[in-house]
């Protein structure tokens, strides 16, 4: 293969594809063809680079220039100017919130500079469809080391010593899980990768699977060797077609190179991996429900114990780890447990990948050392609020997690600290809320999700969450009473204590944490029938400021229900009985005359 002088890495993560990566790539290739640069320029599609809000994006090496918000037209210009003539195209460079343009090098952008990449070390850098690029980055060296020089017990010892904890959210020590499963008696054993990522707004696992599928395969094979399993399953949601496609490609490449199959690397150890596609039920992320689904049964959890370590897939001892947990294994084996321990905190070593979403400037994927404060994560890496309003709180752990108010943003991010605040680490979704977000409404949103996703097997979760939602509906529509708040709290605690599985046990968390930190907002809703954030539609009114309205009729024309009346050049009025609070009039008014008030 001829060496190329320029490599263009174009992000082919889900977000960039949706933003039009394909057409950018086509334009790029056509233009390269046009200037006959095929031999000197190589275009590589990588996994998600993390800066999703800037997509479609690309990095041009060797200079490391980072281009963002691309269009086919931009691609043509970049080929003509940058590739052909060596002039950096300033208009597509990243701009700081201050308007300052950062001229180059990806590594220098604040978004990337503070990150420490372990699980996502290759994502966005290598071509996920090329096994050799993975090997170039030490891929499969961990497997070789394990098979040639280590006993299964030594592997388990190393993982235990690293202090790696489950990245799916619960934080169970991975090495201990492997040890328990190794010690369990069973005819066969299984290793399962949980890729049923279901939290709204979370996409860490998808990004690893799409961007670096081999790391998961390698880690599962190492795990199989350690616990004595010859078969692995990857349980991935049907909503992740690209991840499935790349996993399939990776599996066949690994087989071709002899990293999967019979007698791997001449060691006598055989291991195979199959993909199981889930139909998208949130509860299937719970390990016992996931096992049921792998076996072809309805995805419902069962009572633990026995734990999967004793009785998992087909009743055999099974290890279930999350994608990100697996992605940490090869570097731990190659670099050693002490290296891993040197990153992060004492009790939570290593890094964690977070998906930043909501009202934050740099939405996307970041990997940071454990123990970083929320402040650093949200303001330095995340770039702060995207709306210009103050960040009020952040929800970690999705519908199973809780809200952390801005007063606690100095808290280090680790399993214990977050739990102390009533939130959880969770799988890594972080939804940022600003002053316009009503915390009662937020709690209601997450609860609505769990009500939908409850499997219905146990009563507290099936009926309890539904009753909680009813109460929240009452509160947000101004019909709540003070007794409702006590009832809500009581119900939440009962569901937490009595539900069968993790889904029900954590479903009340958003309500409990918002009640804990924002009880005043709940009280405003029930006592004063007022929504302080002007969010709950039934508690607000739209009013026109007569001193600002010039009678341009723009609002009246845009109102879908004809709630606005008034003559030309005279002050208009809104009939709040008719108004559906869609906000169209506010958007269209050029004089800032319309505002929301509560009550």
């Amino acid at each position: 293969m001829p060496l190329t002088a320029t490599t263009i890495l174009i992000c082919a993560g889900g977000a960039c594809i949706s933003a039009g990566e394909e057409s950018v790539k086509q334009a790029l290739e056509k233009e390269i063809e046009k200037y006959a640069l095929n031999d000197v320029v190589r275009v590589v599609e990588t996994g998600c680079m993390g800066a999703c809000s800037l997509g479609p994006l690309m990095v041009i090496y060797p200079e490391g220039v980072f281009y963002q918000k691309l269009t086919p037209q931009a691609a043509r210009k970049i080929v003509e100017e940058h590739i052909l003539k060596g002039r950096i195209v300033k208009e597509y460079l990243y701009k700081m919130p201050t308007g300052e343009v950062i001229p180059e090098a990806v590594e220098k952008l604040p978004f990337f500079a503070k990150q420490v990449k372990i699980a996502t070390r290759n994502v966005g850098y290598i071509d996920p469809l090329n096994i050799e690029e993975y090997i170039a980055r030490d891929g499969y060296f961990a497997l070789a080391k394990v098979l040639k020089n280590m006993s299964p017990e030594q592997v388990i010892e190393e993982v235990k010593a690293s202090g790696l904890r489950g990245r799916g959210g619960a934080g169970f020590p991975t090495g201990l899980k492997w040890e328990l499963t190794r010690k369990s008696k069973g005819e066969r054993k299984y290793i399962v990768c949980n890729a049923d990522e279901g939290d709204p707004g979370a996409f860490m696992d998808r990004s690893v699977l799409e961007g670096d599928p081999h790391t998961v395969l390698e880690a599962m094979t190492i795990g199989g060797y350690a616990i004595g399993a010859n078969q692995g399953y990857i349980y991935v949601r049907a909503e992740y077609p690209l991840a499935i496609e790349r996993l399939n490609a990776a599996i066949s490449q690994a087989k071709e190179y002899g990293f999967l199959g019979e007698n791997i690397m001449g060691s006598g150890f055989s291991f195979d991996i199959e993909i199981r596609i889930g139909a998208g039920a949130f509860v299937c992320g719970e390990e016992t429900a996931l096992i049921a689904s792998i076996e072809g049964r309805r995805g419902q959890p069962r009572v633990k114990p026995p734990y999967p370590a004793q009785s998992g897939v087909w009743g055999c001892p099974t290890v279930i780890n999350n994608v990100e947990t697996f992605a940490c294994i090869p570097p731990i084996i190659v670099n050693g447990a002490n290296w891993f321990r040197s990153i992060g905190t004492e009790k939570s070593p290593g890094t964690k990948v977070f998906a930043l979403a909501g009202k934050i400037t740099n939405t996307g994927l970041v990997e940071v050392p454990m123990g970083i404060t929320l402040k650093e994560l949200l303001y330095e890496i995340g770039g702060g609020s995207s709306t210009g309003k103050k960040i009020k709180a952040v929800q970690t752990g999705g519908p199973s997690g809780g809200c952390i108010p801005s007063e606690h943003f100095d808290t280090p991010v680790d399993y214990e600290s977050l739990q102390k605040l009533g939130a959880i680490m969770g799988s890594g979704g972080m939804i940022v809320m600003d002053e316009d977000d009503c915390m009662v409404d937020v709690a209601r949103f997450f609860l609505e999700f769990t009500v939908d996703e409850s499997c219905g097997k146990c009563t507290p979760c099936r009926e309890g969450t539904r009753q909680m939602l009813k109460i929240l509906d009452r509160i947000t529509s101004g019909e709540g009473t003070e007794e409702d708040l006590d009832e809500l709290e009581h119900l939440a605690n009962v569901i937490k204590d009595t539900s069968l599985c993790g889904l029900g046990q954590t479903a009340p968390n958003p309500v409990l944490s918002t009640l804990r930190y924002y009880r005043n907002e709940y009280e405003a809703h029930v006592k004063e029938k007022r929504c302080p954030s002007l969010k709950c539609k039934q508690l607000i009114r739209y009013v026109i400021d007569p001193t600002k309205c010039v009678g341009c009729t723009a609002c009246a024309r845009v109102c879908p229900v004809n709630a606005i009346s008034g003559e030309v050049r005279k002050v208009h009025q809104i009939d709040n009985e008719v108004c559906i609070r869609c906000g169209s009039c506010i958007e269209v008014c050029r004089f800032g005359a319309i505002s929301k008030v509560s009550p």
Partner: protein, 125 residues
């Protein structure tokens, strides 16, 4: 593709693949810049660039990156190539045909000798 049995097999693939990856990285021993302005391209800079890349590859040099730039203003001596090695002042060569490019790699990059007959100037422009 035969199956990989030993660490050496794996190492071989790594070495090969690393070479391709390294070209993406910055932070190397040096940099060869081929001026690819309209004038350079008209004078044959594309073939020069190709020759530079090939010469580096043939000689297993992977700690020197190849970069393209615009016209550096020396249109009369195009194609031009600038060689910057760490700790040395940059050297600009002119009339770099593919053959000359190979000489530059051999002499300047590999033996640290400036190719005087092609020399346009030393030092920062």
């Amino acid at each position: 593709m035969s199956k990989i049995k030993t660490l050496e097999d794996l190492m071989k693939i790594k070495e090969k693949a690393v070479k391709e990856l390294q070209l993406r990285d910055t932070g190397k021993r040096g940099k060869i810049t081929v001026a690819m302005g309209t004038c350079g391209i008209a004078a044959g800079a594309k073939d020069t660039l190709k020759a530079v890349v090939e010469a580096l590859s043939e000689n297993n040099i992977n700690d020197v990156s190849v970069v393209q730039s615009g016209c550096m203003g020396l249109c009369e001596v195009e194609p031009t190539v600038e060689v910057r090695l760490e700790g040395q002042e940059p050297v600009v060569y002119g009339h770099v045909t593919p053959e000359n490019a190979k000489r530059i790699v051999k002499l300047h990059i590999m033996s640290n000798q400036v190719v005087t007959d092609l020399l346009v100037r030393r030092g920062e422009i």
